[in-house]
Symmetry: C2
Subunit: 277 residues, 2 copies
């Protein structure tokens, strides 16, 4: 398989340049990319170190190196341009058309994208508050604050409720509680009493029993909890419960946390039911 | 302030297009952007709905609408091109130069960037395992698994240990435990016994007492815990403890969780001390 060294060079966290490069390079599955991330490259000295690292890789490898950058300072960025490697310069590619369209010059400010920003009183604090809310209202630990939740995820143990709650909180500031369906709930096939006042905020997660078996086995091998029989019983009962209660639900079997989270956002925006993939 | 409608159109989670647009638009602080995110726009019908939504915004506003897209399918993407709005087409801008450089055609595959990916056994599972580890080893809840931690964050209550641990776990698969410095630790000015075997994995968080006061007051108004006097005492003692123990530390006062997390990654990669901003 072809192999390429890739450098991702940022003047800040490198979150943007990593997202950008990952998105583009995932479209070339036949190439094996060896990725080096250089963060906080925000002065002449740091750029010189980056150039030296690229030069070393270029000298050692047989193929041209790829360099992605989101550095804002045009002067620093210019120091990364060499014929010896391909420079994918995200800022110059799009800033100029945007300046023309908006009729205003950009005012480069490092660290705005993933920093606290100027609204330290609002958006960032809301996200951190939502993370704390998700932690305090995780796994049915407390149900006293469900009235503050925008969304209450329900599902069997290990169906992805906790990481999804945390992701929605961290990235979108959504207030999410989650409630695990335990055996009593699954036997009853009716909505637990504590959830009934919040019916319109409930969302059920579904999962294939084989996948659940695999996840639980990884955690508690040879337990009844992880047995395929138990997983089959729980997932069947959970789906029946969602149906009986008329709850929207989503099959998360082959979805990542990012995909589950964004599908839930779509469902909340639409105010309706999400259908599985 | 000038106002612009912005549409972010993705065939998947929209995480990439949101990151890119946010990065670009944050450079134009004089414009007030009204952002609409359209996710899972992955067929002709969904694109037609998106175009209709853009047309409505264009008809209602006085300024040209901005449309950012990361849709992979060239046929679908072409349906978004109109003279009536500015289309910032992330894929076409960079895919062609990459194809030329790599000498291979791209093979568009939706949802690769923030999906589970083909390595469902490894990278994605490792991230989820790290999230579970961070939760089980949060706030000194359990210290029995510290030997499995790659990093152990220490700091006073509300200095950002928990969200930072979760962010590092969720995004980078780093195994992070965290330990809160309580009054006994702060009085002693020596490393708590439970931490001593792991000295080389410890990292101290520092925070300005006024900022800490502000955060704690938001949570427990009028408490001794939130008083400026108490915050001054705790932050001073914590810094003295780091100094005495010779621990690396980072001032997180004006940093976001993303910035703290990536600075810690840099410090771990360098194997050395991080200096505050």
């Amino acid at each position: 398989m072809a192999r390429r060294d890739v450098f991702l060079i940022s003047d800040s966290t490198a979150i943007t340049v990593e997202t950008l490069a990952r998105s583009l390079l995932s479209q070339f599955p036949d190439v094996d990319f060896d990725t080096h991330v250089l963060r906080f490259v925000n002065n002449v000295q740091r750029v010189a170190e980056a150039v030296a690292a690229i030069e070393r890789a270029a000298a050692a490898g047989s193929e041209r190196v790829l360099v992605f950058t989101t550095i804002l300072d045009a002067g620093l960025r210019a120091r990364l341009a060499r014929d010896d490697w391909l420079l994918i310069d995200f800022m110059s590619a799009f800033i100029t058309p945007l300046e023309d369209e908006l009729g205003t010059r950009c005012r480069p400010r490092i660290g705005q994208t993933h920093g606290i920003g100027e609204d330290r009183g609002s958006a960032y604090l809301r996200r951190m508050e939502a993370v704390n809310f998700a932690l305090r209202n995780d796994d049915g630990a407390s149900t006293a604050h469900y009235h503050e939740a925008e969304l209450i995820l329900i599902g069997v143990s290990r169906s992805g409720k906790t990481p999804t709650s945390l992701y929605l909180a961290m990235h979108y500031g959504t207030m999410v509680a989650n409630y695990p369906l335990v055996e009593e709930d699954l036997e009853e096939l009716s909505l637990p009493a504590v959830l009934r006042p919040y019916r319109e905020r409930l969302f059920g997660l579904r999962i294939d029993p084989h996948r659940l078996h695999e996840i639980r086995r990884h955690r508690q091998p040879d337990s009844r909890y992880a047995s395929l029989q138990q997983c089959r019983y729980e997932t069947r009962q959970a789906e029946a419960l969602y149906r009986h209660a008329g709850l929207p639900s989503l099959d998360v079997t082959s979805l990542s946390v990012e995909e589950i989270a964004t599908r839930l956002l779509e469902a909340m925006a639409a105010g309706g039911t999400v259908t599985g993939p």
